[in-house]
Symmetry: D2
């Protein structure tokens, strides 16, 4: 990394690079939204291939983007040589995820040297109106000395 | 459904039909394994499109098949006119999901008229050896009077 | 209850009466703090009899007052003839509960006819400074037709 | 500790000593039951001072002994110079804790150098019959180089 590159560019570049290597995000069709240190948004548009048996977003689609949003919120605060691992999460599905788009917002509640706690809220948009459809509480682990990025080829 | 069809065929047919309508299971490439009343297995073979940034199964893939395995374990004990909804779940990712196949086993711990509790263990096979990689505790809701199957066309 | 008594007095009276019947709150020495519809505070001062092995508040003390704070936050929004039951909760203990007082703040995130979701934050005061020491996500059930108050004698 | 003392006595002595320093266990009246490496039982007899508003065991009493049972199950496998910390737990209260005694059984599912996962089942005895009333999934942390026992006086 160039010494002229500001620090915020550094975390954002690492985060975008890491996200691009998550094959599941591409399979689902998820994309990054607004990014800040400690706060990451992930967006997912509805299609048949993301549904449960009644035609809404599957709880697994919701929890997948929520897990990544919280994981990257934690990752955005990590030092350059560290990677992130989900230890566990708990998610309440509080309204049917019926609509055209999901938006998961991961927010760091308590950063830590080893463990970080995130809160992730997921909203569904239906006919232009957004409502909270899921809430996750998630524990992440920081692995030092294991940079997330692959070495340059 | 024929009146001559035994009851156990009934739950299994309803379950397979419902699973086939989960678009996300097809998108991921998941399939049903061994089925018993109160116990459902779901299998998922690895491919790049299911990965997180380090090339293992994404926690979202694990939690998605675990959620469906627990949901269908509960559903297998429901009356014919009821459908199932995930209220919430909590999952611990206890070993890297590195390997060629995941196997999620959903097991009903406590069936209930309104709420059912399931335990879901997910195993990863690596070079032919299976190990526990995730454990989920999940609360499901039974919705009576709302059959899961679409009315015949 | 008098027809002249405003509704907000009604929920508060029912809540205080119910709290007074929780033997464990008295055993621990917990008391109600600020009350609003959908938001309930519970306070607990430290003493040796609430400790874990290192002399801090035991996680069980923290989770007990957090559980009651969330439960009563939900209860405060219920109709008069309903009582409340904890379905499940998940709590992260994010800092040592070392200090002279705990303050649990239960907040309804999503009220529902059957299930209500609460978020409960618990703070510890040490030498006059408060910090977040635990965060809970909790599911409550409303039981209609079962008033919480005992019939008058 | 004597060099002649067998290892299994060592963990059990450390565990009993640590339990005796948990003031909250004494306040509640909880006691240790059967102990094995990786599996710890805690017992609690009913009295008015442990109740919720309907006269059953308070969910906080259940979660407190379950938390200690899981914590000590993990601790029983730790090296001598390590202590244990609860990172988080999730508990489902699946039947009313109505009866004369609770029995929490903590069981290590996956021991680890940093994090350990436990499953804790709690049973209530009513008129001599035991039933499962709560199930917990709990994450513990091992703190090396911080012996749990106070230095001899």
């Amino acid at each position: 990394m160039s010494v002229f590159q500001p620090a915020h560019v550094a975390w954002e570049a690492r985060l975008r690079d890491s996200f691009d290597r998550q094959g599941l995000m591409e399979t689902l069709g998820a994309s990054l939204g607004h990014l800040e240190p400690g706060r990451v948004e992930i967006l997912l548009s509805f299609r048949e291939g993301l549904s449960q048996q009644h035609g809404f977003f599957h709880a697994g689609a919701t929890s997948t983007i929520a897990d990544s949003a919280g994981g990257y919120a934690a990752f955005s605060l990590f030092p350059e040589d560290a990677s992130v691992l989900t230890v566990e999460f708990k998610i309440n599905l509080i309204a049917p995820a019926k609509g055209e788009r999901l938006r998961a917002v991961g927010q760091v509640i308590k950063p830590g040297r080893t463990l970080t706690l995130c809160d992730v809220e997921t909203y569904v948009s239906d006919a232009g109106r957004e409502k909270l459809c899921a809430k996750m509480q998630q524990t992440l682990m920081r692995l030092d000395g294991r940079p997330d990025m692959p070495a340059a080829g």
